[in-house]
């Protein structure tokens, strides 16, 4: 018999007259106690009292020897602790369903209990923990130190060092009373014995007494099919992201959220209780609240899937140029994967050189043939070096031939490329790379130096060959040239073996089974090609690596991070393929098209499009370094007719166009299509740009990292749209004015500022767009509609839309909220588990059965078979049949995404973007979107740029205009009376103040995006009469 201390909200629930839906069993770690779960206890009681649908009983135990539970004097092993907990729950008569919640080593104990109680278990929730200590990795340094025998007792028992350290790593620091509470049960040496024993019980290796039990638990966890939630704080010196990766591998169906700024005590750092309740509500409720039905084809008319490398493969014998780099970094071609220029020929014709790769005067040209061969070699080499399908490979290489080759090599072998823009800055980049946990990092020196300094995980491969000293200093195992060489050797060896086998196979073809015969046949074919060409194979046929299926993950692209930490956006091969086909159709890009690629995401798709892409001479991290001359030289090199560039780049091209010579201007005159991707550009600027490229149609499409091309519009169409809008607005104003004279006061009964914004055109083929109207507090609560003139959040759907966010369950949840693809509607994508489900459905408890029933229902909805009632009721059989039969796949129904942008449709079906949702000003008179009034203010002669922000509480905010004047102001000041009057007049907004500033702050990556959130904070301080910080 042991005496436990535990917290239980059962009596509060009973007092509130509520019957629990289930129980959350909470297990703290070392050296905390049940106090850790206080927020969960109070949140569940509050929810029950306020009449929530679900009612959760919470039992939070103090483990024996810990907290206020008994000190038995015994040393408890992991197995003992799991047994202890089991006897406690038996004694309590705990009935299902139970969802476990564990932290730190309590996570392991909770999972042990979970594995041992399949009848009761409904779900598992974990905060920073681990169930496996990979042998290849050393224990975290922080723990190694504590485990040092001489230190163990001193740090954990004799002193409060371990306790203090653990409590000291909260972000932000714990309040003094909270800290005192955590310490309360551990005041004396005797009471701290358990802490030391717990640390000593960490199974460091196979010889440890608890090793077998840990292995048993970790294996059991991998078999769990119940819903799982992982809330993770990456700033943890012990449970690093590596352990999160291990848990995710064991529970691929888990909903995961990493809180960038949180650490080991993630439960203290972020308000986890409401998230936990939210997740439970999503997971364990009937889909009663049907998601909005959207009047759109439920299933995307699937484009024919075409592998991203298909064009490369087809053109493997083509000696014309595929990729041209205007100024490759580093001139030592021996260190590169590309051969030395042998032809010496100039631009354009250089691709005819024997090697197909040439670098002349800084220009490097890579033919299709060479690119295909390099991709093959790199693919084979990467595979030989252990890069497996599904491995994440972080590519930190500037756009150009290297990046292109390695990118397609990764795609071909099914490795997931992780691409983050260097424009994020070292800090942002580091967060992104570490968070994505790549197994491999391929980068240029500066990136590898950062990787070394900041401890990014993964095998390191350098883009260029480094000196041995440098390579070893950077922890680099191979260079890309090494990888290619290894690949060549592998291929050659395989070729030789295959030739022999093919000869054999030809002799005994009848005796081989079907698969092998086909395989051998394919290989033989590849071999023949190889032999015909004399050297390495052209095409990928020789690669022995399995081809990834369309629904395998292809890439993780990071967002700009202009609103909070950059988010990883996950794309499958099918989704990227759809994007390529869309770009090809929309902009008529194909074989022979010369493409100046000044915008990275699209530039990388050049080889997939079959275009000849050229990267102009510019600093890729700073788009505004692209000059007109650089564009001309690049265009000339490939006889380009298409330019992709960011708005900042185009602005600088225009600014530097004065220096162009007549022949240079003629090159620009050949441009057929100019595409400005990113933030919108003002019409006058586009019109001036048009004079540089008189024959080109200038497109300013609308898209985002999550969906790169959603709508499209040309300059001509913008001008037309603006004209029509202006005419309509004038008519409206006349009506409004007439109406106002009849009412004495018309100041506040309707949002006065006319809606406007930036016209981004109509959805491109296959894209569906809806508007979710805003309520008076600026929340997008409306259903998904297409009604003209209604302002709301822009919600998009397309085949080429992102799959999901990486490890951001909450963000995913918000991005799909109220859409047919909401997690709630489709159910979290869950791998396998059907069989286990059958066993579990035998639970005796009524609630439990209901719960299981619900889950089974949802899983059926998730499943492959179209029979039975589908949650959405709409499913296309043909599409079903086409899909690959892989576990964990979701139906190819439309995926929807909330963009975080606000806008509206006009009566002609064109979309107008009015700004970011977070920048909407919520006045007492209604919502106000910033873009339209800003544009109007910017038409004033003395104004260069303007931002309209709100100060004050939501729903009663006051609009403020912040202005950067044409003549740079020396200091912050209030606008002069005349300016203020003009601003109010032209904007149609009764701004409470006009603030003149020397410069408006813009976000890190997009020089053109004004950071209105920061501005609003600043303005609120200033207008409150306080001294605001620096702008």
């Amino acid at each position: 018999m042991r005496t436990w201390h535990l917290l239980d909200n059962a009596s509060e629930l009973a007092a509130a007259g509520r019957t629990p839906t289930g129980t959350i069993l909470c297990v703290h770690g070392n050296p905390t106690w049940s106090y850790l779960w206080r927020s969960v206890l109070s949140a569940t009681v509050d929810a029950a009292r306020s009449g929530s649908t679900q009612v959760w009983r919470v039992i939070a135990v103090d483990q024996l020897e810990m907290g206020f539970s008994e000190r038995s004097g015994r040393t408890r092993t992991l197995a003992q602790r799991i047994a202890d907990l089991s006897s406690l729950t038996a004694e309590l008569g705990l009935e299902g369903p139970v969802v476990t919640l564990g932290h730190d080593w309590g996570g392991v104990v909770s999972l042990g209990w979970a594995v041992d109680h399949p009848q009761l278990l409904a779900g598992v929730m974990l905060l920073n923990t681990a169930v496996h200590q990979p042998e290849e990795f050393p224990l975290p340094a922080a723990l190694r130190l504590v485990l040092t025998r001489s230190l163990l007792a001193t740090s954990t028992v004799r002193t409060t060092a371990f306790l203090d350290t653990t409590l000291a790593i909260a972000h932000p620091a714990l309040a003094p009373d909270v800290r005192r509470a955590f310490r309360a049960p551990y005041r004396t040496t005797a009471r701290r014995e358990g802490i030391g024993a717990f640390v000593a019980d960490i199974p460091v290796d196979a010889s440890h007494v608890s090793f077998d039990e840990l292995t048993r638990v970790s294996a059991g966890v991998a078999r769990l099919s119940v819903p799982a939630l992982l809330l993770w704080g990456p700033r943890d010196p012990v449970f690093s992201d590596r352990y999160l990766g291990d848990l995710m591998a064991r529970m691929p169906h888990a909903a995961v959220t990493r809180f960038e700024n949180a650490g080991h005590l993630v439960g203290e750092d972020v308000p986890v209780a409401p998230m936990i309740l939210q997740w439970l509500a999503d997971e364990f409720s009937m889909p009663a609240a049907e998601p909005e039905s959207v009047h759109a084809p439920a299933v995307v008319p699937a484009r024919e899937y075409r592998a991203l490398w298909a064009t490369l493969e087809e053109r493997a014998a083509d000696t014309s140029a595929a990729v041209v780099e205007m100024a490759p970094h580093g001139s030592n071609t021996r260190s590169s994967v590309w051969p030395r220029n042998r032809s010496g020929a100039g631009a354009g014709g250089s691709a005819q050189g024997a090697g197909g790769g040439s670098a002349t005067g800084g220009i490097r040209t890579v033919s299709w043939r060479l690119l295909a061969r390099r991709v093959t070699e790199l693919a084979a080499g990467l595979e030989a070096l252990g890069v497996k399908k599904g491995d994440r490979v972080s590519l930190l290489v500037p756009p150009g031939a290297d990046l292109t080759a390695v990118l397609y090599a990764c795609l071909r072998i099914g490795a997931v490329v992780v691409v983050a823009d260097a424009g994020l800055g070292v800090k942002g980049l580091s967060r992104a790379v570490r968070g994505a946990r790549p197994q491999h990092v391929i980068g240029i020196e500066s990136a590898l130096a950062a990787a070394r300094a900041l401890g990014w995980p993964g095998q390191k491969i350098s883009a260029r060959t480094l000196s041995r000293t440098l390579a070893s200093a950077l922890g680099v195992s191979h260079s890309l040239a090494d990888v290619a060489r290894i690949g060549r050797a592998t291929l050659r060896a395989a070729d030789a073996a295959d030739s022999a086998r093919a000869a054999q196979a030809a002799d005994s073809a009848q005796s081989t089974d079907g698969t092998r015969a086909a395989d051998a046949g394919r290989v033989a074919e590849g071999t023949r090609t190889t032999q015909a060409r004399g050297e390495n194979a052209d095409g990928f046929a020789v690669l022995r690596v399995a081809v990834p299926v369309p629904d395998d993950t292809a890439a993780i692209l990071f967002t700009s991070g202009s609103t909070g930490p950059a988010k990883g956006v996950v794309y499958t091969h099918r989704q990227l393929s759809a994007l390529v086909e869309l770009l090809r159709d929309r902009f008529d890009i194909g074989a022979g098209t010369g493409l100046v690629a000044g915008f990275a995401p699209f530039a990388l798709l050049g080889p997939a499009l079959g275009a000849t892409s050229v990267t102009p001479d510019m600093n890729v991290t700073s788009p505004k370094t692209l000059t007109a001359a650089a564009v001309v030289e690049a265009a000339r090199a490939v006889q380009a007719t298409v330019v992709f560039a960011s708005p900042a780049a185009l602005t600088n091209v225009l600014a530097t166009s004065g220096a162009l010579t007549l022949p240079q201007r003629r090159v620009l005159g050949r441009m057929r299509t100019v595409l400005s991707a990113g933030a919108p550009l003002p019409v006058p600027l586009l019109e001036r740009f048009q004079s540089l490229v008189p024959e080109a149609s200038i497109h300013t499409p609308y898209g985002m990292t999550e969906g790169l091309l959603m709508t499209d519009i040309t300059l001509g169409e913008i001008v037309e749209a603006e004209h029509q809008a202006e005419t309509e607005r004038e008519a409206e104003t006349r009506v409004a004015r007439a109406a106002r004279t009849t009412h004495a006061s018309g100041t506040t009964d309707a949002p006065s500022a006319a809606i406007g914004g930036v016209c981004v055109g109509r959805p491109v083929a296959g894209v569906e767009i809806r508007i979710s109207a805003l309520d008076e507090l600026g929340r997008a609560t409306g259903s998904l509609e297409q009604t003209a003139g209604v302002t709301g959040e822009i919600v998009v759907s397309a085949e080429h839309l992102k799959d999901h966010y990486d490890q951001l369950w909450l963000t995913d949840r918000e991005a799909t909220r109220g859409t047919p693809s909401a997690a709630h509607a489709v159910g979290a994508t869950r791998a396998g588990g059907d069989q286990v489900e059958g066993e579990q459905a035998e639970g005796e408890h009524a609630d439990r059965e209901q719960l299981d029933g619900e889950r089974a229902h949802r899983e059926q909805a998730d499943g492959e078979q179209p029979d039975g009632e589908h949650v959405q009721g709409e499913q296309e059989d043909a599409e079903q049949a086409n899909r690959e039969q892989t576990a964990g796949q979701r139906p190819a129904s439309r995926r929807w995404h909330r963009t975080g942008d606000v806008g509206h449709f006009d009566t002609r079906g064109r979309l107008w973007v009015e700004g970011r949702l977070v920048h909407v000003v919520t006045t007492a008179a209604g919502i106000l979107t910033p873009v339209e009034p800003e544009q109007r203010i910017e038409r004033l002669g003395e104004v260069r740029r303007a931002a309209v922000v709100g100060v004050g509480p939501k729903g009663t905010q006051q609009p403020v205009a912040i202005i950067e004047t044409a003549k740079r102001a020396r200091a912050v000041s209030l606008g002069e009376t005349a300016l203020v009057a003009e601003v109010r007049k032209v904007s149609g907004v009764d701004v409470v103040a006009v603030l003149v500033v020397p410069e408006l702050p813009t976000d890190v990556r997009h020089n053109s995006k004004i950071d209105r959130t920061a501005l609003a904070r600043w303005a609120a301080e200033l207008l409150a009469g306080r001294r605001p910080g620096r702008l």
């Binding site: 006061s745 100041t747 506040t748 609120a1020 200033l1022 009469g1025």
Partner: protein, 323 residues
Amino acid sequence: MTVLVTGASGMLGRAVAVEVLDQGYTVRTFQRGVSGLTGVEDARGSLTDAGDVRRAVDGVEAVIHLAAKVSMAGRPEDFTAVNVEGTRTLLAAAREAGVGRFVMVSSPSVAHAGLSVAGDDALPADPGRARGEYARSKAAAELLALAEDAPAFAVVAVRPHIVWGPGDTQLIERIVDRSRRGRLPLLSGGRALIDTTYIDNAATAIVAALNHAVTVHGQSYVITNGEPRTVAELLDGICRAAGVPGPRFSVPARLAREAGGMIEAVWNRRPHADEPPMTRFLAEQLSTSHWYDQRRTRADLHWQPTVTLDEGLERLRAWYHQA
């Protein structure tokens, strides 16, 4: 219905009495002297005299209580006698006389502790934290009034914020006078946002509170134009309307607050005829934001301001032009 309007000799009291009259009620006014209004019955007397007060409330169905000692300096006991005890006397007399509605005209300063206010709704009055004797006494008075609230005695507190208009001697005249003498500073650039109330709007809001007392009793409402402006813009607008130069120099707010505190101390020891040129309260008022959430006020009282800030300034200009 007969409505008693106390303090009808002041700018706001007069405007309220006129508005009540305009809405078809019978008006009795209560103040020391004559109200000077036509169509009303003057009940002259002092709030500190229980007999005067009893006579004033006799036969009325509703009371709008505006009478108060308003000053930036003065002895605490004087404020208490008029603002607290006077209100207590009036409340008792009104209940006794069977009055059904009581509109307590208060001030946002009753809930103001010297920090900036940006979009708050009416917070509870707090004499312990209010700044200055006037605000302290008004806070106590509002609490007294609301404590008397009952279904049969509907008490509503309304707090108009910085009421101004043509003929205003309290605020406008002082600003104009100072500016004329070149002694009108801005505090720290006058960047704080302040919401004000044009006289007509204050009057209609107070009468709206009277009209809806039965549904909104027990509540406090802040009344403003709902058009916050920076102090600089407001002072500039007023000075322009009066045809005098606007503020031409700025003083750091912290300095002004300290100076105000010292001046106040001197003024309290040796009472002057005039108001002190600066007090801590005034310095705080002029250097921190004061604007309020008007949604509840407008929805509950079914009221909207009818005169915009610009129109009010235009009327001010016309008034000075005539004068």
